[in-house]
Assembly symmetry: D2
Homo-oligomer: 214 residues x 4
């Protein structure tokens, strides 16, 4: 059985690796264009087997329908500095021709009750394996650093309390969500300042590099 | 001259690489001990040549005294999830035998006027080169993720305005510093909750890994 | 001008990074299938600007025709343990749907006079950039470790002597080519032995891992 | 029990990671000094648990004496282009102050009967852990690429046949060892040529880089 899982998950792992390289590349392209990059960093993971089993049970997905019905077995996360960058990333994703978008969920505009904020894009991505091409679902989550910080903590707490976080802790979490959101707002306000600053910074660095090399 | 710099900076680059591997190792050791790790991630850099020249001029350091008098040519940064983790990292650094601490500056307790918070430890670190051993100064900065986020932005703005940030922008920066600090406080309050949650999380993951492999 | 090159080469760098991840993935898939992997390791590079200029001059390619006419600006190299593995890699490349093969050159069967052996596949690969999709030529070279060792050295000597290697040195190079080829032949003879050995090895490792974890 | 092993091996893993970064650094230092580098690449591994158990049994080492008596639990391998480079690496290792050499074995001059060639240096290396300093034995193996290629194959075959390789296969292995050795000899003969070529190559690259950037 263990062997079976490894074979099933191998192309998902490959998809995650490829999409990480592809989306990290976007970051460099923006930097080279001397522009503020909407991509701060990119991470990815394949869902752990126990979480797949849990979710399949909860959502009543048959084991032989996982590939078609569970859309976050492969997950890629794009972290942004500013809330405004999230839209730029989505715009880029919509223009790519190496996958098809099958679903979008906007939890930035429509924050979850828990305080969760994030933008989800589910894509259908073709992986070339040694057995031929496979079409896989991959979930791409786009968030600010503050949204991500908060979400990581909520994830841990959900785990601890088996999705039944006590009211007391929930309230604390909501206060933290407000603090995270407040930080995002303050950041947006100095965004224009920062964007210009970073552009100047990049050019200076470039000029100094040239000077130093002569 | 360019050639000269490359040779001068090579052992600093080596020191940064070695200390990054060493401090990242700490993270893994805590994780394996099923304990909350005080080290979230570690970055490092060698100061760019133009910044070395700038600082030498500003601080009146002679070119042949850089190795002895400029303590941040090599810099390593340790990011923590909680303010409380900063002390744990400092405690570990003080116990290490692979370098000597020559200075500590606590800008966490004594925040700078600008809003800057961070703990700085300057160490004397021996690097083995193809020409023999060299003793180098390395600055290790320890901060929370929120402190780091803020500091990165202040750095860009300082660059843009050549260390003369306009009052208007300074005020905005201070508001952002307060928001960052607020987020750190909220995080500290749910820290005990989170620490326990993460421990449980790690054990579950471990157990599920074993189950899945059988 | 420098800026121009950086923009021109950025998508090539991206193509190399993506293809490296894709072809390294093949290696893991074979390993997971408990099979001998034809891919030992994968490297890649973007041709240095001076080499592009040299070649453009030599082959009379206009600067605005580089993208269409120079097929090795992006290069990926696949190293194999055995001569027989080269065919397996070619077979896999022909089946992939993420690029089109536009040319194949077999310098394994038809060794160059110099002693050079390698299999070249030129593909047309689509890269998604922040400005849209770009079609790029990429040269994939497939070789054994011994072929690669020899080729690296010939490359250095060609550089030194500006493509006019003295007869004396050429003779030595040819003797080295014979020694490299002899090593490949001996390897092929024990190949079946080794292939079986590696398979057994992998299974043992797997079993011992499981035992150790219980 | 599994948990125990993880804790026991963690500092060995750390030692391997640190020494890999340290010895890879040597490579870069030689390259920056525009000199032929004796270090082609560096790998490392912690001995798998089943192999530790096997060896402990074979050599009658008690489980509580592993740290003192088994000297290859942590292993680092340095690959060289030429046989002559091996001595340069040894010379460098003897001069380092971050570990003490406790043993050297020269299987290059005194090839094993099987055909095995390699130079082994056992060092005592201090690792700083979260529990304090630990002194560990690490085995550093220095070999040419051809020696390494052969050794990898012998290792697989030994595994398959449980250290009882049939005579027929042994003969084939010895023929391959002779071919590998022959390749090393041919390489040594063109070494002076190549060394000069590589030096010229590096300088040209450097010059062209500068030209391209202006």
């Amino acid at each position: 059985m263990s062997k079976n899982w490894e074979e099933f998950l191998a192309p998902y792992k490959q998809a995650v690796n490829e999409l990480k390289v592809k989306l990290k590349g976007i970051r460099e392209q923006f930097e080279k264009a001397d522009d503020h990059t909407p991509v701060e960093f990119v991470t990815g993971r394949v869902k752990p087997i126990p979480s797949i089993l849990d979710k399949a049970k909860r959502k009543q997905i048959a084991m032989n329908r996982l590939q078609e019905e569970m859309h976050d077995i492969a997950g890629v996360r794009v972290m942004c500095q500013f809330v405004e960058d999230i839209n730029k990333v989505i715009h880029h994703l919509r223009g790519r021709k190496d996958f098809d978008i099958v679903e979008e969920r906007d939890y930035v505009t429509n924050q979850k009750e828990s305080g969760y904020r994030s933008y989800h894009v589910v894509v259908q991505y073709p992986v070339q394996t040694i057995m031929g091409e496979q079409m896989l679902l991959v979930e791409i989550q786009i968030r600010t650093l503050a949204m991500n910080f908060w979400a990581t903590i909520e994830h841990s707490l959900n785990y601890k309390y088996n999705k039944n976080i006590p009211e007391e802790v929930q309230k604390r979490l909501q206060r933290a969500a407000i603090a995270a959101s407040k930080l995002d707002d303050e950041m947006s306000e100095i965004r224009v300042e920062i964007k210009e600053a970073q552009k100047v910074f990049m050019q200076k660095k470039e000029n100094e590099k040239k000077k130093a090399e002569n």
